[in-house]
């Protein structure tokens, strides 16, 4: 019978041979995909997802089993990604860049401030162009909002799991998602 993720995590904590490799094989694609969705950089995504596995190896003993293993691991992973974002932003500031994606609570999202583009309601937008555009607009969201959208719409996590991953309340997740999707709708000219 196949071991559950939680059992494997406990086996990793006890340094049982092979347990860590099994968990990596189960989660490597999801970890890389989520990291890439947040960071949008292949090397950073590879590096952060590997770092998350290393932290998992180091702290497997602290997994109390009160949440699902996947929620606990995604939290480690998303923290790595957000740390990486902050470091990247710090370096940009250090060399004089103005970060266009600040997500501090007092800094308004530039995407939300921008006026909605003119769209011709008769012609509409063809589906392919729209699809390309919708994910390009997701890239312009703040890292927290992008993480919430990715975990919700792509990975199918429930609100309480996203809250646990992002270490915020469920109400905050709802606000992140509502603002993010409202912004996307406005930018796509969907406001009816």
């Amino acid at each position: 019978m196949e071991s559950s993720d939680e059992q494997l995590c406990r086996a990793v904590a006890e340094r049982e041979p092979g347990a860590f490799d099994l968990l990596v094989e189960r989660y490597q694609e999801r970890a890389y995909r989520i990291a890439w969705s947040v960071l949008r950089d292949r090397e950073d995504a590879r590096d952060c997802s590997q770092e998350a596995f290393i932290r998992l190896h180091e702290s497997a003993g602290s997994f109390a089993g009160q949440s699902k293993f996947s929620t606990w691991f995604y939290r480690i992973l998303v923290n790595c990604c957000l740390d990486q974002q902050r470091r990247r932003r710090g370096w940009r500031r250090l060399v004089g860049w103005r970060d266009q994606r600040a997500d501090g609570p007092d800094e308004p999202d530039p995407v939300e401030q921008a006026p909605a583009p003119f769209t011709d309601p008769v012609d509409g937008m063809d589906t392919e162009r729209r699809m390309t555009k919708v994910w390009a607009l997701v890239d312009e969201l703040s890292p927290q909002q992008r993480a919430a959208v990715t975990l919700s719409c792509r990975e199918g996590l429930a609100t309480k799991d996203i809250a646990a991953v992002l270490n915020v309340s469920e109400a905050t997740v709802r606000v992140h998602l509502h603002r993010a999707l409202s912004t996307l709708r406005r930018r796509l000219g969907d406001e009816g």
Binding site: V24, V134, W135, R174, L181
Partner: protein, 162 residues
């Protein structure tokens, strides 16, 4: 009034992610509010699009990924990784660079460290004291011969005094 709407619950309603009590509350509101109902439908369409069209990340070789991960993990657990990570930290690197700079600068002559051109001239003259001691000879040298003769000043005959 906007604040009586259920905007922030609509996404969870679409996803079926509300407990029964909250779901019933939202259902009641949607039955009476055309704006929220329309908004819910637009959220549903957008979320379906997002789920269906999510771009795939660039492909990577999973064997190489796991090998690299294993190597990183071994470095980290063996302690070499920690030492190397410490060495490449910005602060220790800056301190080391500063120390090297101090050592290099302290090894140079004082005149080179200073930006005072007079002090620099004095230093160069000090290395040519032998020429100054024979200034009367040097002043009589043809400019074109200077470089050959200067090196053999000690071999020149004493100038005859008239």
């Amino acid at each position: 009034m906007k604040d009586v709407h259920v905007d922030e619950w609509l996404i969870d309603h679409v996803r079926g992610d509300l407990d029964p009590a909250d779901r019933a509350r939202v259902d009641v509101h949607l039955a009476a509010c055309a704006d929220c109902l329309a908004s819910r439908e637009r959220f549903a369409v957008l979320m379906t699009e997002l789920a269906r069209t999510a771009p795939a990340p660039p492909p990577i070789h999973w064997g190489a990924y796991r090998a690299d991960l294993r190597e990183r993990l071994e470095r980290r657990t063996s302690g070499h990784g920690r030492l190397w990570a410490w060495l490449v930290q910005p602060l220790p690197a800056l301190v080391a660079a500063g120390l090297v700079a101090v050592l290099v600068l302290s090894g140079l002559p004082t005149a080179v460290r200073t930006s005072d051109p007079i002090a620099l001239d004095n230093t160069i003259l000090a290395t040519r004291l032998d020429m100054i001691a024979r200034l009367d000879v040097v002043q009589q040298l043809d400019l074109l011969e200077d470089f050959n003769v200067i090196g053999e000043l000690d071999e020149l005959p004493e100038p005859q005094k008239s």
